[in-house]
């Protein structure tokens, strides 16, 4: 496997100092804290972490889709343009056209009461100013591209008339209509059966190759990351705790949490049955984060400094960074 090189050109997405808070009756929830990263053109960035670690809310902030009680601050630039907290009209020029998002449940992006044809052509007519016929033609081509058989006939169907895997494809086709430079995929295969998941992952791989589009792939499945991502961000308690090229994450994790995650996973290719290593305890409460390192009460290596001071995300060179007070960790076999 070769590590692809990404151009030093302006990134598709540049996030800096992102903080996302939710106001609740019990106090503020710090869903995202001081998050910064960039995605290069054509790059696939994987975002992993446990449930509640802030993966989705980073991108809901990016897309301007936060729930009403949420507030984001910091900076989000899409191909150079600042869009965080921009007015809806401005956001609408970017969403769909330059970046679009797909979800675990396709019905969050599809309207159950309209045919797929109506939903797809409408997007092209508003964003690209195409006429009805041209829009329909382009929509059918997009459905064919995501490998929906008999696209010309099926475009007249309603979303519920498609099977689970096909509906996922329809949602992907919708997201790709305006040729976005960045596709944000939030757990796109989590709800699917494993053989159908394999089909969708194959499709994403092909699209990535053929269109040169960048992908932000949010998932809790390290296997999915291993197959698709060029670079990986590991989230814990709303912060980035490690960032590295995909091979380094799996071969030489530098944060105790990443290391723990890899070791606690049963693997299809494991030899003999050994006891799984576990990470003790529970994920942190974002309403009441501990002092110092948020991982410290579950960390096997924690020492005095970990409670006293929060480790900053520090560069290790070679595109790697991590937030931990320890000296660098050794190599994993």
């Amino acid at each position: 496997m070769t590590t692809p090189q990404f151009s030093a050109m302006e990134p598709v997405l540049e996030v800096a100092g992102l903080n996302t808070l939710f106001a609740t009756p019990e106090g503020d929830v710090r869903a995202v804290s001081d998050v910064a990263f960039a995605i290069a053109r054509g790059e696939t960035l994987g975002i992993v972490g446990e449930s509640g670690s802030g993966k989705s809310q980073i991108f809901m902030s990016v897309m301007g889709l936060l729930a009403r009680n949420g507030r984001a601050s910091g900076s989000v630039r899409v191909t150079g343009t600042e869009i965080l907290n921009a007015p809806v009209a401005e956001l609408n020029r970017v969403r769909g056209a330059r970046m679009s998002m797909i979800f675990q449940d396709p019905m969050t992006s599809l309207n159950p009461y309209l045919t797929v044809r109506r939903q797809m052509t409408e997007v092209l007519m508003t964003h690209k100013g195409l006429g009805e016929e041209a829009a329909a033609q382009a929509s059918i081509e997009m459905l064919e591209r995501v490998q929906i058989p008999e696209a010309g006939r099926r475009i007249g169907m309603y979303p519920h008339e498609f099977s689970g895997g096909m509906r996922q494809r329809v949602m992907i086709a919708m997201a790709l209509l305006c040729g976005p430079e960045l596709l944000i995929a939030d757990e796109p295969t989590t709800a699917l059966d494993v053989t159908v998941q394999a089909q969708i992952l194959d499709l994403l791989m092909q699209l990535k190759r053929d269109t040169g589009m960048a992908i932000a792939l949010i998932t809790h499945d390290l296997g999915v990351i291993a197959g698709l991502a060029d670079r990986v961000i590991v989230m814990y308690g709303g912060r980035i705790v490690e960032q590295a090229p995909v091979r380094d994450i799996f071969r030489r994790p530098q944060h105790p949490y990443t290391e723990g995650l890899l070791k606690s996973m049963p693997r299809l290719d494991e030899h003999g049955v050994t006891r799984l290593q576990t990470i003790g305890g529970q994920p942190p409460n974002l309403q009441n984060l501990p002092s110092g390192c948020a991982f410290r009460d579950r960390c096997a290596y924690a020492f005095d400094l970990c409670a006293a001071e929060r480790p900053d995300l520090t560069s290790l060179g070679e595109g790697r960074a991590r937030a931990c007070h320890l000296p660098q960790l050794g190599e994993v076999a």
């Binding site: 494993v194 159908v196 995650l261 049963p266 006891r275």
Partner: protein, 331 residues
């Protein structure tokens, strides 16, 4: 070989589905489980894998005889369950327990952790004194890794992993011989998943439990099971000891499942050969004729549409149902 704890023979669960409106309507039969047979030995874990609609959960419940519409023979320690008197059946129920996927939803929100765990004990041993019950409950809590002083807390005050521990404590309090685990770790994060898997394996070693472990996660099933059964639309495609099934899968469906699971290693994952199946799973309401897998099978021929292949022996502890099963590698 040890005598089986449980012997299931030609188990079928057929649900009638139909619009029962004023004028009636077409009735369909959904064959959720269709002729499943297997043995389970004491202390053994049998993994059940398959995708949605393959009948895994229905089979799990049918084994415990929790479903009304079922046929087939279930023999428990040499005795046919259908012939037991109600009182004997009650005793048998004590020996078979179940834990579920959604830990929080499967616990009664108005009962405390202590009450939830105590319930099966109090039902079977109503004569026990309160202090004794409490002591047993706290012992169970300690055993599954809960703090005994959390006995008066309610389910919503626990995390998902802790709720699953409550479910396990409740399942083991009457010292059962068998626990059916229906996707017990699927709703949990990876780090918590590992804790629960280790706990189940420890309890098995300590108590000599048999487990039926239902999961769509092939890696988890491989880790915990001694033998594995692969189901597709209510039928057994392949059943074998763990190592044969994973090292030498013979059924094209097992092979496809195996190759579809993403391996957490970028070099292996990107280089591995894949069998990507066509299409989605067919509806269990309208399964294909003959072999139910034939519509997605890369090896299907005419005969596959005509008749369902029998489950045939392919190795010492290896059975496969396929007209074109790959031949086992011979050393």
């Amino acid at each position: 070989m040890t005598a089986p704890l449980l012997s299931v023979n030609d188990l079928k669960v057929h649900f009638e589905i139909g619009r029962r409106g004023l004028f009636g309507g077409a009735r369909h039969v959904l064959k959720a489980v269709d002729g499943v047979s297997f043995d389970l030995r004491p202390g053994e874990t049998l993994g059940l894998v398959g995708e949605s609609g393959c009948g895994k959960s229905t089979l799990g419940r049918a084994i415990l005889r929790l479903l009304p519409l079922q046929s087939g023979r279930t023999v428990w320690l040499g005795r046919d369950l259908a012939r037991l008197a109600p009182r004997e059946m009650r005793e048998m129920r004590r020996e078979m327990q179940i834990i579920f996927q959604d830990p929080l939803a499967s616990l009664n929100p108005r009962m405390t952790a202590g009450e939830i765990i105590a319930e099966p004990l109090v039902t079977f041993r109503p004569e026990l004194k309160r202090a004794e019950v409490k002591q047993r409950v706290q012992a169970m809590m300690a055993k599954v890794g809960l703090l005994p002083n959390q006995i008066n807390r309610y389910p919503h005050e626990f995390s998902g992993g802790q709720c699953q521990r409550i479910g396990i404590a409740r399942a083991i309090i009457n010292e059962p011989r068998l626990i059916v685990c229906d996707e017990p770790v699927s709703a949990l994060d990876v780090s918590i998943q590992a804790q629960i898997i280790n706990l189940l394996m420890d309890l098995q070693a300590e108590m000599g439990l048999s487990l039926i472990f239902i999961s769509h996660n092939l890696a988890v099933v491989r880790h915990i099971s001694h033998r594995v059964m692969v189901l597709y639309l209510g039928k057994v495609m392949e059943i074998a000891d763990r190592d044969s099934l994973y090292a030498n899968p013979l059924h094209p469906y097992t092979q496809a499942l195996n190759s579809a699971v993403p391996v957490p290693d970028p070099d292996i994952e990107r280089a591995k050969p894949r069998v990507v199946l066509k299409g989605d799973l067919p509806s269990p309401l309208n399964p294909p004729s003959g072999c139910p897998f034939r519509t997605r099978c890369p090896r299907a021929t005419q005969v596959c549409a005509e008749c369902m292949p029998a489950l045939e022996r392919a190795g010492a502890d290896h059975m496969v149902a396929c007209h074109h099963a790959a031949m086992p590698d011979r050393p």
